[in-house]
């Protein structure tokens, strides 16, 4: 096997997105803890990265030095990453059911020491973009054409370090770096506009020297288009403000709970069943 960016048809990708959503719900409910809604908002972008012709990977050789890299800075959303990696052939889907169990490498947050294919150990918010800047600098130094993609939470944008990384990426004109803000509107203790409102992200970050796009990130077509454009930008770092909904795909089920953030808790088995039925 060699490095390959898999590109499915949009129809196939929509099916993949649904599979990812189902697996996210199943594995977190089985684990009895975790962050399903934080994972669900990110599904379209992650599907686009893994199956829309972007991440050049080799599951047989996850450490291939020429690979592209995806860093999930909002590490608590790792079920979406495990689900995508499973579909991409890194491990059988069934193994993800050991999420968060003692002895399982499917830890509650990404741990690169225990799982080949994980590009950064995250879980302390705010550090992923800086790690991405370092990887992008290193790859460029080696003359590689690999890209680095980093997904950040909108609440996570409160960390000062993210803004330090934004400045550094612009300074070094990192055209091989793409940041995606999963703007799902919520963080742990409430709506991001109430806790710490840093919107509009694009208007704030563009003046640093970034290329920016703002999209509906739960629309697969828009996600694919934005990733395409971001890849084409090679003289400056690129930002995709991915406006999403936390828990997208199962919102009517969450509505019945009266909690549209539903942060950091799994669905009960009954709710999970309803959510899976809703996804169809």
């Amino acid at each position: 096997m060699a490095l390959e960016a898999i590109k499915l048809s949009e129809e196939e990708m929509l099916a993949k997105a649904k599979d990812l959503r189902k697996n996210i719900i199943k594995m977190t409910t089985e684990a009895g803890s975790g962050h399903p809604t934080s994972s669900l908002s990110a599904v379209e972008i992650v599907t686009g990265l893994y199956f829309g012709g972007h991440l050049r990977l080799d599951p047989e050789n996850p450490a291939d030095p020429d690979r592209d890299r995806f860093i999930l800075s909002k590490g608590h959303a790792v079920p979406v990453l495990y689900a995508a990696m499973a579909e991409r052939g890194f491990f059988p889907v069934e193994e993800t059911m050991s999420l968060r169990k003692l002895g399982s490498p499917f830890e509650g947050h990404p741990n690169l020491k225990r799982m080949p294919g994980i590009e950064a150990s995250t879980g302390s918010l705010g550090q992923g973009l800086s790690i991405g800047v370092g990887q992008a600098l290193g790859l460029r130094l080696d003359g590689k054409d690999s890209n680095v993609y980093v997904m950040i939470g909108d609440g996570e944008m409160g960390e000062g370090q993210v803004w330090e990384a934004i400045a550094a990426a612009a300074k070094y004109k990192l055209g091989n770096l793409v940041a995606i803000i999963d703007q799902n509107g919520y963080q742990q203790t409430g709506a991001t506009k109430d806790v710490l409102d840093l919107t509009p992200f694009a208007d704030k970050i563009a003046p640093f020297g970034w290329h920016t796009q703002t999209i509906n990130g739960n629309d697969l077509g828009e996600a694919l288009g934005a990733l395409e454009k971001a890849d084409a930008v090679t003289d400056q770092p690129s930002l995709i403000v991915s406006q999403t909904q936390k828990g997208f795909g199962i919102l009517p089920v969450l509505e019945t709970t009266g909690d549209l953030n539903y942060h950091g808790k799994p669905l009960s088995s009954e709710l999970a069943e309803k959510a899976l039925a809703h996804l169809g």
């Binding site: 169990k101 509650g108 302390s124």
Partner: protein, 319 residues
Amino acid sequence: MAIGELSGYQMGQATRDAFGEALADLGDEFPNVVTVDGDVGNSTRTEPFAEKYPERGFNVGIAESNMVSVAGGLAGTGKIPVVASFACFLLNNAFDQIRMSVAFPEQNVKLVGSHAGISIGEDGPSQMGIEDVSLACSLPNVSVMVPADGVSAKKATRAMVGHQGPTYLRLGRPKVPALYDESVHFQIGKAITLKDGSDATIIANGIMVSIAADAAKMLEDEGVNTRVIDMHTVKPVDRAAVVAAAKETGCIIVAEEHLHHGGLGAAVAQVVSEEHPVPMGYVNVGDCYAESGDPMGLLEKYGLTAENIVSTVKAVKSR
């Protein structure tokens, strides 16, 4: 069997829950108390205070370094800021801010770290504060407390707010056995002897006190009369209690839910080596990061068990 059961304790409150109740209760008495949060007040349990006194609760978002220096500023205006996050994000993420905005200027800031230790379970090592006591103890002027149960956590909360100067209060996520009733005397820097004994001493704090009590019970059945000391204050450590234990029982085993270096074990060993050297042993997380898993399974896998304390006591006694 649940921890503490062997020694006859009932399961009680998590120390974070006790802290949250106590803090909300003392808001009228201490009108200068304010809270500073980093988007985790519902986890650290500052939320009840912030809901009761909305104008005195500040949630600055996911921004721990800013949070700590803001607390330093509030203290500079005479407020008593209680600044809380997960132990790891507070101590590790904002360490220089704690140093420069709190410890060095000796600001009256109350640092509170919840979710300490590996017993947080499934969230895994990135969320486990296991270096926090070492980091906090390394700072001049900072008192460091690790209460073992709900009642002592409440009393520690009150003592912390009443104390003039920077403090660090370490709290756990899971429920722990109720060791004390309201009559217990809690004073910063003064250890509590949970059980007296003459053949060996286990000095512990946090969740390990209940586990040490179980170990003492097991040792008792084997004829080893073991003293159990709840060293809820790591800094300043109760030197008199340590020296007495060394002199009267001849050996000391330190049990804590923390890395081997820089925590309670190190604090006790310094006193022992300075004042009355005796054989010592340690039960702690060692020198590694743990993993995701269920809390009890993790305690077992990483050796934080009564059985391991028992065998450590025996090994140390036979030296």
